[in-house]
Symmetry: C2
Subunit: 325 residues, 2 copies
């Protein structure tokens, strides 16, 4: 499996490298090349290919859709980094900080168009379906990002709002990956539906895992600084559960630490993490994550292909859940 | 014709008003509603419909493509206003200044996706062709905008560079409008090509007219402050021709006035306009504009439908050329 995954990832990397991006003007195309060359796990595009392989051995006709999803995902990173004022992405300066906000806006726009150019390469018989599915997911991602930004200044974010937000911002793209792979692999309507729901649940579990790892990951392996969400004041699942579980005294301690402008980053991380530990929020988050993961697995069971065929996708899903913690 | 044009424009307005944009989150959808409700001539979408009417009487199947072009055009305005830091659009605050840069980025992104959602409503037999054509034009518009921004800080912009830039940024969308209308109207390959070239030339003439009107328009009718391009330091066709035609003394006078940080806006406009007058740049620009317009007309002649059918489109083209000066 590991090597299979790597072969597919390599295939994506090759195709992205082949994309004609030596174009002019350089101010438009250099940031795109830089973004697509910066690596990344290519998780979403590999998921498209793995989904299709449940139903077909030929991934070639599926590649354009995989590339569309990958370029779309990278477009969101370029614009999100600007909107979130995040100076670093994959250990390098983000596009807006290396070039300028305008370069990030425009090269991001061009990447969104290029995602559709990849999609347009898919077999025309599938085009109406996959274009509609892609548009719906793309709009969902925008809605999720707006909710995420709204939450920053809102005092009234509930756990339910948060789950809705991550469904739109994160899960919808994993769901899209599954659906595109299924459609282009020639799956039945029932199997397309089941795989789509599998993607949705997997995406939810994936984001909750991400929230947990931000606080409890082995930093070296995970590659991000521990507690980044706390420093950024991001109201993650952990924070919202802590907010919900804490009594008055504990809650005001949480708010004081979380919104403090006096504490150093490390102090803030220490204090908030200590409250998380006392309230055992991580076990709650893991339980929720497991719920989604179990739902995903039960969707996978409904898909009418033999279990052997499902192993690659299940192994990748499993690997996403035990990421380097 | 005038009433025909108004009927088509009204049809576009109605369809845009019907678009479901009462959605949540409001921070995403309110700026979109605001932008699409702010009016505008709907020129590009009406051009799509008029192009199709050369070949068919039924505009209904063409409407989704017309809406796609209109929403795409409005997306470019939202992002361009942010990149150009232009606080006013159609006599109202532009999106980034009414909300925030982040709202402009994200609602613009969502509009680009919505443009594709409209396109996806077109008959599936035409979808591969029109999606490819749309993508090409959309990327060209991004390239043109990048060149336009590059020109701001460049000392070496030639007239040829400028013509390339406006071809990408402006003409390609008029060209797209013509091509989409022709394809969906069921035109032959030859007629699609001829109408596409008509659109390209008309777009060039349109932009040169825009450059001229910025300096020489009847302000009240044109709706923009006279000399806006001069105040913004935009190197238009007029400026580049003046730069090319002027001898050393005149050229340094032009540069001093154009790049001055001491002069008031009105003084700057007066001095630069005086140089334009002395060099008769407007007659050069009008000549170039006429060249493109003549090329457009000769493309129209090649289209294999009777002259009567062409009258609406020719009248609109003519009206674009004699805009309220």
């Amino acid at each position: 499996m590991a090597s299979d995954f790597n072969i597919l990832k390599q295939r994506i990397d090759e195709e992205l490298a082949r994309q004609d991006l030596a174009g002019q003007p350089a101010g438009l195309y250099d940031p795109i090349r830089y973004t697509l060359d910066a690596g990344g796990k290519r998780m979403r595009s590999v998921l498209v290919l793995l989904a299709s392989r449940l139903f077909t051995d030929d991934v070639e006709p599926v590649l354009p859709a995989a590339l569309a999803v990958e370029v779309f995902h990278n477009f969101t990173l370029v614009h999100d980094d600007l909107m979130d004022q995040a100076p670093i992405r994959r250990n390098q300066p983000s596009v807006f900080s290396k070039w300028s906000p305008n370069h990030a806006i425009l090269s991001g726009d061009a990447m969104l168009v290029q995602a559709y150019s990849h999609l347009a390469q898919c077999d025309s018989s599938h085009l109406p379906h996959i274009l509609k599915t892609f548009n719906k997911a793309a709009l969902a991602v925008c809605e999720g990002q707006q909710m995420d930004m709204d939450f920053e200044s809102s005092q009234e974010v509930g756990v339910g709002d948060y789950l809705k937000m991550i469904e739109l911002k994160t899960a919808s793209l994993i769901q899209l990956s599954m659906e595109l792979g299924a459609v282009l692999g020639g799956a039945s309507t029932e199997d397309i539906g089941a795989l789509s729901r599998f993607g949705n649940h997997l995406g939810m579990a994936f984001q909750l895992q991400d929230d947990i790892l931000d606080v409890y990951a082995n930093t070296e392996k995970f590659g991000k600084k521990q507690g980044g969400d706390i420093v950024a004041g991001k109201k993650t699942y952990l924070y919202l559960i802590a907010d919900q579980l804490s009594n008055n005294g504990m809650q005001s301690k949480l708010h004081t630490a979380f919104f403090s402008k006096e504490l150093t980053d490390d102090q803030k991380i220490d204090e908030v993490t200590q409250i998380y530990n006392e309230l055992k929020v991580v076990s709650q988050a893991e339980q929720k994550m497991q719920e989604y993961y179990d739902k995903a697995l039960s969707c996978m069971e409904k898909i009418s292909v033999n279990n052997e065929k499902k192993q690659d996708l299940l192994l990748l899903a499993d690997r996403l859940m035990v990421r380097d913690r």
